[in-house]
Amino acid sequence: VLASLGGTGAAVILGGCAKNTPVKTQSEADAADAQVVASLLEQEQRAIAAYAHVARALSGKDRALAKQIAAQERRHADLLSGIVKRLGGAPPAESAFSFPQLARGADALRFASDLENSSIALYIDALPKIATALVRGTAASIAANEAQHVALLAVAQGLPPAPVALVVGRR
């Protein structure tokens, strides 16, 4: 994705913009996309911090799952950060997040699940606002990965892993 965003590729990837958005110049479209992607990056930064917190309340297989998911959230953040820069924006500074105390493993898994659902909702909400088709595809592929996290966290909780056919997350 990052390679495609450089140089002459930029004009090509502007195809497929959402119909209802007003026509923008390339730089306006890039700036708008950078802003949307930066907001997604903030959520990934929150998720990375949250999983460090979550992992401390877990053990065994559940802890290993949390660590694997955390590593994927880092991959998301790294790519999104690169996209924001390529689009001419500035990635948000990493904030200090505060999270509720998680006394039991079950609380930690439920908290992680809520976080993932919130991420999915954010990505689905953001998609029509992203003009660059490749970036939109990347955002959709991250949302799909977050949905996988939700399914595996549900399995870990002994809950139905895929209770709905149209996965839109929830705030």
Binding site: A18, Q72, L79, L127, G137, A144, L166, V167, G169
Partner: protein, 181 residues
């Protein structure tokens, strides 16, 4: 997705990864409607394939329940796509026949153990993900982009659960677009 889906069905039928047409090659004046109609036909057919497989008595009960769950989701995806296609003026679509199913997925009747059935499911789900990922490059209506993404999220869950049932890493990639085996 017209060419993508048709090609996808052929390639899926051959058990090989879905090959995608370049987005520019799919351009036409009515892209949203053709994407919805092709996606809906794909989903109807896969729903029927999973229902057929779920009736295979040699598969264990847990796997048949999983296939039944996935079949229901595929039918719901098809219904959601059909609703949007009808909104755009598309004609009602006939249900796929058993004959068509056998033509598109000739290997279906030979899948009699869990490994083969789950291998089929992962191939199908990866193909669907690739098709709906490609749709993100082609659709230009906000609600259709969101619908395609919510279908992708569901297919991604199916893929992770099928991989887990096989006993392999359920989430090998942080970016799920159906590319990773």
């Amino acid at each position: 997705m017209t060419a993508t889906t048709r090609r996808g069905l052929l390639v899926l039928a051959a058990g090989a990864p879905l090959l995608l047409a370049a987005p520019a090659a799919l351009a036409d004046g009515n892209a949203n409607l053709t994407i919805l109609e092709d996606g809906m036909k794909l989903k109807q057919l896969i729903g029927l394939a999973y229902t057929t497989l779920a009736a295979e008595p040699r598969l264990d009960r847990k796997l048949r329940e999983l296939l039944t769950l996935f079949a229901g989701h595929e039918r719901e995806h098809a219904a959601a796509l059909l609703k949007q296609a009808e909104y755009l003026g598309g004609p009602p679509a006939p249900e796929p026949t058993r004959e068509r199913l056998a033509r598109v997925f000739p290997s279906l009747s030979t899948l009699r153990d869990a490994r083969a059935a789950l291998g089929f499911v992962t191939t199908i789900e990866r193909g669907e993900l690739q098709a709906f990922y490609a749709a993100q490059h082609r659709l230009d209506e906000p609600r259709l982009l969101q619908l395609a993404a919510s279908v992708m999220c569901s297919d991604a869950q199916h893929l992770a659960l099928a991989r887990e049932a096989i006993g392999v890493n359920p989430i090998p990639s942080a970016f799920e677009s159906g590319q990773t085996r």
